[in-house]
Symmetry: C2
Subunit: 240 residues, 2 copies
């Protein structure tokens, strides 16, 4: 059975302008791999309604699971909840359950639950909330789409609470063989081994160290016996 | 006149599996910003022919310029040149000019220009070469698409040689105001200022430091007078 697939949609001008380096994609990629879900595509779009709605509709049709990050805060450029509602064709407004969480949080700190903060309780109809133990303002799940915050500590907490709810696959095993020869030297036989093991993904990643070329050959797959077998064949060929 | 737009297509399983952290996107974002080109979208896809062709056709139709990274080496998983040719509906084969560059390079090092290395001379019909001063194997430009290597040092060299050939726009100016108040406190007035300056992009990026919340307000635009004016209004409101 093939592994389930996922896509990620990163929403935010700050990454596209080069101001901020995205940290969430790398974290999500690693967490999904652990539970046997293949992250197949990532899109990064700006804070633009049409771009967000269109990317979201493409991705949710093509993959088992979509995870978004960014754009669910209190400021004018936080438009993700409205865009997700538009993509699903549902109504969105401040919802009582989300508002109650935030009201209690601000009350306990003696802070005003003002109109801007109420934006963080805008939840599309039919969505369920994703808990935010870091700063309370919830994410939400609608259909196969999980909407999370962009702040890395909050994103990671939300990923941790959503991952156990997803249908995973056989764990994706990965082994790496370091070969101190350039890719051009090993590419011929490597390609033949890749053909021998069509169910595995065999990649080659070149590096340069102390002026010499080398390659890391990475074998990935969910069948441990095949992965071991391919690694043995590679070691025999390239490290003799 | 609006700034020209660009998109980036990152090709490579190693980023989606969480094995490698992409470094090229951040570099490209900063270089494009310097010449007034708006990076509007990034897509990361796996080494899959259909995914690459379809993403490339979407992006080149929607943006003035597309830059790809990855998948132009000598191994079996390097399929970018073939995918670009398929997207443009043109023939691709080993081309004399690219082969001559590589032949001279390997001759000078006493290395064999074997079949695997000849893959790096596969160039779609009608493309022009992008120089690679680091490891010789060229990138190429076809239509509005610039195809570059994934290895960061090579990618950066190729970006440096392509950027001067692109039509830029007015430089995009950026100023940041740090406010030691949480987003929920400032969001109301900030939204009103964003409405006053529809030609600027005004973003708010929350942070937490020593247990206190703060926000960096970033004002971006190509009209320096407007950027200064907006910054003055923000400073008056939030740092008084």
């Amino acid at each position: 059975m093939p592994n389930p697939t996922a896509a990620m949609l990163v929403i935010g001008d700050e990454i596209l302008s080069g101001r901020t380096r995205d940290a969430n994609m790398h974290h999500l990629a690693q967490e999904l791999t652990k539970v046997g879900i293949n992250l197949r595509e990532v899109r990064i779009v700006s804070d633009d309604r049409d771009a967000i709605v269109s990317a979201l509709n493409d991705l949710r049709a093509a993959h088992d699971t979509v995870i978004t990050s960014g754009g669910i805060g209190p400021t004018h450029d936080d438009i993700t909840a409205d865009c997700v509602a538009a993509a699903f064709g549902v109504h969105v407004d401040v919802r009582d359950d989300a508002a109650a969480l935030l009201q209690a949080h601000y009350d306990s700190r003696g802070m005003e639950f003002n109109d801007a903060r109420k934006r963080m309780a805008r939840i599309p109809d039919g969505a369920t909330l994703i808990e935010n133990p870091v700063s309370i303002a919830p994410g939400f799940t609608i259909g196969n789409v999980h909407v999370m915050a962009g702040v890395p500590s909050v994103f990671q907490a939300m990923v941790a609470s959503v991952i156990p709810t997803l249908t995973g696959g056989a764990p994706i095993l990965s082994q790496t063989l370091r070969v101190d020869r350039g890719e051009g030297d090993i590419a011929g036989p490597l390609g033949r081994i890749a053909e021998e093991f069509p169910d595995l993904s065999i990649g080659s990643y070149p590096f340069q160290q102390n002026g010499a070329y080398g390659s890391n050959i990475v074998v990935r797959g969910s069948d441990g016996v095949q992965v071991d077998h391919a690694m043995a064949r590679l070691a025999e060929l390239f490290t003799a």
